[in-house]
Symmetry: D2
Subunit: 379 residues, 4 copies
């Protein structure tokens, strides 16, 4: 451990994701034995008082109120962008230009064009880069990947994913501003397509390969909401719901849906994959479990197996407690930090890189195009 290199982190953002990322960098060395040790060097946010309070709570060494200053600091190795979508691109470009490693919250850009610029920037600068599609690192999801890579499913016929929430149903909920920028299209880029479907797509591309074509529809159920920044009732320009059919390059059919109007579901991200020999399903509300069906099992005792993914031979789990004791949401970020640091040490960059995440933005772009054209669109 004595030989571990320090990695100085500069965090941009102190909201929900700022906390999740800070916790990840603060915990990872306690549980993983890595070549790099992250140091919480500085956090940056626009509100001086709030950023100072955040600094103290999370034991950052210092804070900034202008991200340009953070990027300019020579004592920072890594810029981690945990700010709203509309600033991802400019910060990433500046950070890459300054030779910093860059990590960025998802979605990478507000659209594929933005994401492409960012991808070119980090690749040109040859800086390590990664996007926080954290659900890849839920141990159950990583186990799904392992089972697929081992060829257990055989030919895949179906991929099905949903991300269901219900927190914007009330018409009285305003749009825009600090807590509600996800409802403001100019900041977020899109609604559930970029916020929720992007997660579904990232996992799908990882587990099942490229998507060729999509046929989509979107809907905005509540047409107008008070805008926090203008104080006026304004049209809602994001999509509240987004559904699409897909054709994967491997010949399988995709069915994707995201909405914030599914009463009873807080954050129900689920996927299911049906292969010739085996099927897999998972959901975020019980993220420590994986459902697995293997047709090769003897007939009379064949059934869906509920895997409690807490054993030491399950992905990531030997780092934690003992079998039967579950971990939670925040651990997906800790695992992602661990894999990023491991990639630095090994020279094999951990996925998803900016380029991987750009592919997701290309799919979400195609989804929005198809919703507008009412036709199938190529990715």
């Amino acid at each position: 451990m004595a030989g571990r290199k320090k990695l100085n982190v500069g965090m941009v953002g102190y909201g929900f994701m700022g906390r999740a990322h800070s916790n990840a960098f603060g915990r990872v060395s306690r549980f993983f034995d890595l070549g790099y040790e992250p140091v919480l060097r500085a956090v940056c946010g626009r509100d001086k008082e709030k950023v100072e309070a955040f600094r103290e709570t999370w034991s950052y060494d210092s804070c900034e109120t202008d991200w340009r200053k953070l990027v300019a600091r020579s004592d920072i190795d890594l810029i981690d962008i945990a700010a709203p979508n509309d600033v991802h691109a400019e910060i990433a470009l500046a950070a890459a230009a300054a030779g910093k490693m860059v990590m960025c919250e998802k979605p990478l850009g507000r659209n594929a064009a933005e994401a492409a610029t960012m991808t070119e920037a980090v690749e040109r600068a040859k800086v390590p880069n990664m996007v926080w599609y954290n659900y890849r690192r839920a141990p159950a999801v990583a186990l799904a990947k392992q089972l697929i890579d081992e060829g257990r499913l055989g030919r895949v016929y179906h991929y099905r994913a949903k991300f269901l929430q219900d927190w914007t149903i009330s018409q009285d909920l305003p749009q825009g501003g600090a807590a509600l920028w996800r409802l403001d299209a100019s900041v977020a880029g899109s609604g559930v397509t970029g916020d929720l479907l992007a997660h579904c797509i990232d996992t799908a591309l990882w587990l099942n390969g490229a998507i060729d074509q999509v046929a989509a529809t979107t809907e905005t159920f509540v047409k107008e909401r008070m805008h926090n920044l203008t104080g006026k009732v304004e049209p809602v320009r994001i999509d509240d719901a987004s559904l699409f059919l897909a054709r994967f390059a491997n010949g399988s059919l995709g069915n994707f849906e995201a909405t914030r109007y599914a009463r009873g579901h807080k954050a129900l991200y689920t996927f299911e994959i049906n292969g010739e020999e085996a099927s897999i399903s998972w959901d975020l509300h019980d993220l420590h479990r994986l459902q697995y069906f293997d047709h090769r099992d003897e007939g009379i005792v064949r059934g869906w197996r509920s895997l409690h993914v807490t054993d030491s031979d399950h992905p990531y789990m030997k780092r934690w407690w003992v079998p039967g004791l579950q971990i939670g949401y925040e651990h997906t970020f800790i695992h992602q930090a661990a894999d990023f640091l491991d990639g630095l040490a090994s020279g094999k960059p951990a996925a998803p890189t900016f380029r991987d995440a750009l592919m997701t933005d290309r799919v979400t772009d195609a989804v929005l195009r198809s919703a507008a054209s009412e036709k199938w669109e190529r990715v």
Copy 2:
């Protein structure tokens, strides 16, 4: 009971559905107190030996090998068509012309044109008629209908349904012939669209009203199979999988999928409805349960309720055992028979009539058109 009128049933078909219908007519008077009592007067099938064995097992009074003779018999009140799809239309037309009541297995026709002819025939003849979309009569599904009719869901945002099976994955499975006519497009009309999606659509129209438009895709995963009737390997012309997005007249979005390539699912028909105030979901693998979420519940104890639909105040259940004791698949047919007979007595015909079922065939037609055109299609 002494005053019950006899209703003489002539059954066409002695396969899976012939058994289910015969059981329904044989059991219904034991458990329901009705104005009409069905009498198993005759069963008709092409194979003399088999139909005689069926007659004996099910205690029919007589049997026929030509459905025309059955239709011509004066001692028959009701013709029940439990034969493959390709004979639905001609039998129904003849039965209506002979002034018989007509019940018919689903889907009504191989396509909407056939179904329209059949609908016109029974309406012109003014004979009672019904189609066996039996899942409406699962007590849990009937309870869903009741909760919706009571207005508990509020504005509906989403309707989602799937019918997943896995029994045709093997490439060695032949097509056509007695047991496998569902894989022969000339007999079945279509694949999972008419066989499985039709169930999903019938329930959806009943619970959530009309579907305006659809965008669909279909796939045939196994392109050729040995044909049982020709003995040759022939192209498979049915759809193995069929998915579609829908827009309902009430403004909600639909997501439908059926397949016979979902490894691990035998007959998993599921639906979920998300309303402003409440949500409902159900699946056929545990058909005696309904999942219900009510947002009006107090926050700290708000959650999905697993309703074990076996109480005497649940639809149909006071006719059966005691709370906690479940019924099964075959009871959906018994309930449908009961409702049909009740409709005869009351003069208020039970749904779905031929006209109701014609609407389902119009949706499945639109689905197949959309899959071909790769565009949205109006129903």
Copy 3:
């Protein structure tokens, strides 16, 4: 089928169990190919009007109001006792003396002494006999038995069973009389010990062998209830709850509990067996499923398998519908009737015989003794 022998059934009782047994005898020949065909010859009940209505509904040929007359009839082969516990013994003795086959609802006697007399009577008369412990014939429970007999569990460490209901919690519920004789100790013999624990014990003896010793406690939560027959508030003399620890002859430990005061459970009979290599669990609220865990599965995909016991290679299921379509409570009786008739044809009597059921009464006797003595008691 032409060669099937008729078996003339005389039913005693027209309550809940009278219906279940009548349905079983009425359905069994439709679904099972047997050497004997039951004929519903006569039903007997004390109320002339009610028994006549029951006769008509269930298509019995005739009815009686005095069971002695039924027993004396020469056209009756089998006396099936579906009447309250207090008349089991005298009817069974008379039936055996008359050379009739005897089937009897559980528990066999109100206590082991009664049950012993009955057992001696049928054995002395050498008449076929059986007790309706119907849950052995749930396909999932029969599958559990098969898996155990195949040695899949290895050495058994634990057996756990509960039967939880909640229908007598209200203090306003009276005791005694037609519908509530189960609360009247003089009729029922005991409370949940004989009514519910008896089911748990019968299954346990079948699946896990003899019970040597028990340590029990019982409780009567509501001490007084209005008695329907006297019209007065009288002490409640049955046990409302009964729990016991057990030691099986095979060295495993048992944990049993039954109650009618478990709010939220209508008829939740559950059991779980933990063996060295595998475990099994089941519950009556989803009776078509069996949970199975096999430690020999590969570690990373080891988990509880939820078996949907509806395949044609599962016990009894090839007689019913197609995979995925569940059956219900009443089918356990149909299966038991089938096995009884099969036993007649083969000469290998189906279990549980009166002697098997006597063993259950001996355990319930020991439970009640232990509750009184506050010590361990040998069975």
Copy 4:
């Protein structure tokens, strides 16, 4: 936050519990706003190399190899005992004598006599004290407590708890030594009774009040194991399984069971409480959920509610992420640390204190006495 007092922690033990406690003290200030801030001042363990590595990983300021030195240090405010059971008493006594606050892993003593001495010591010294019965702080369990305290259950009839594991089934597993002291009676005091049942009892006493009497049985399935410290095969003196019936002071009946021979269960701690009006159940394998049944719900929509305990109005949860995102096992320790620190600030000591935990040891003593005497024993 500037006004927070430092609380200097001296940790004894660097095993599984040493990690869990260290993590709790290291995280609590990040997520909770408290009057005290714990400082990881020193960790103590017998192996110099290992304790130094642990110090570095967990960022303790210093380390010790002799707990007496740690207790003697003037810069330590709190001694936290995370070492095996056989040293709990002497460390606690010394720490109390030195005027330190004391926290101790459960069970408090190897038996009630030891626990009584410890309780007297901390009370005499008037030092804050607490025992790590961490499951009280799972948000779902804390919610159960809240619902009970609000009177929602009404009169309680039944309390049922199990703690099922399967990790010691193999006969080849040795006993004793660092990793396996829980199998060595001289270190652990007892087997599953003190290790697992103690958790069940602590929760039960908290949720349902005092236990008056117990009737128990225990078993040691594997009679001999190689001992890691002697290198010889020696008798196993712990209990592998322990079951007891209980009578609570409030008139309800208890049913408790713990075992390490329940194949398929890694750490399945479950409890269920049945009250007149409502019932509750919980299990550790899905610790973020609580099952709740309320009989006052309207009949047709009455069912068990699956509460996903992740909302901001659920206990502890406003400190974490957003609704739908679950936390895990380790958070129960963080919550307990928070409550302890809160108790220091408020002057209202958080439970369970040593005195509370002594009551649990009195019940486990009674369980072991009853298993030996084969009679009911008073607590």
